[in-house]
Symmetry: C2
Subunit: 131 residues, 2 copies
DNA sequence: CGTTATGCTTACGTGAACGTAAGACGGTAC
DNA sequence: GTACCGTCTTACGTTCACGTAAGCATAACG
């Protein structure tokens, strides 16, 4: 049923988005589903791209940022300069992500510390209440 | 000059944001600077909160999400139920962040792989061009 | 002491990322 | 055949996160 092509509804159910969202992404050239008549047919490629799109969004990238990143994932094989540009941009993006990971680790440490403090406040409150 | 209080401009320079942004965050109750007359005076607490705000934004949280997180970082010490709620929410948020880290690691691995492919494409193109 | 910078409030404007409603078209279930 | 999905296009509406301009008060500088 979903071997090669998927309808827009199947895509929506699979990724938990609305049809409007998929059409919007197509309009922004983030997706490029096939057509039969004027019905959209989403391929494996579209699914892979959508996964990347949603992931990017969860990390605060704009759709325009994401479009640039997507180009990295399937550049025009016959266009060497474009491949080189994509690699350069990708290397830069990688450094970006690694920086983000450091920040994320820091945030996790902070939050853990805060939870310890919270736990202390609770046990202290209970201790004084028991007096 | 910036020992205890900072002007809005000093804050802007320090965090690379506009005055409008700081006023906007205050209106949304993310910050609560003191006042002298009607001039805002930002304290160490505001600086700590702003750091958290900007960090949250980089990870795609909405300002409303962030407001909830901020409450975690200085709950009302006299309100035990609120502390407990904050801890619960914080624990949940921690799991959330750790999930994000897994995703981020995945994204980094993907991108590294993609860069390898790109490098291969470049060297292949150059090899065939040399024939 | 006038000019220039900084800050305040109020309020309308803007770009991104969709939501939503209207109307038309094609398959298909009865 | 017609009633009903599912999908399409077009287009106006909406929310979030600020930008920007106007008008006024105060502070800092020379």
């Amino acid at each position: 049923m979903a071997g090669k092509f998927m309808t827009i509804r199947e895509m929506c159910d699979l990724f938990d988005v609305t049809p409007r969202t998929l059409r919007f992404y197509e309009q922004k050239e983030l997706l490029a589903p096939e057509r039969t008549g004027n019905r959209r047919l989403f391929t494996k490629r579209d699914r892979a791209r959508l996964k990347l799109i949603l992931r990017g969004k969860r990390f605060g990238f704009s759709l325009e940022d994401i479009r640039q990143i997507l180009d990295l994932y399937d550049p025009d094989q016959n266009n060497l300069p474009q491949i080189k540009r994509a690699c350069k941009l990708g290397t830069q993006r990688l450094a970006d992500l690694e920086e983000r990971r450091k920040e994320l680790d820091e945030a996790i440490q902070d939050l853990r510390g805060q939870l310890v403090i919270g736990a202390e406040m609770i046990s202290y409150a209970q201790a004084t209440a028991a007096e």
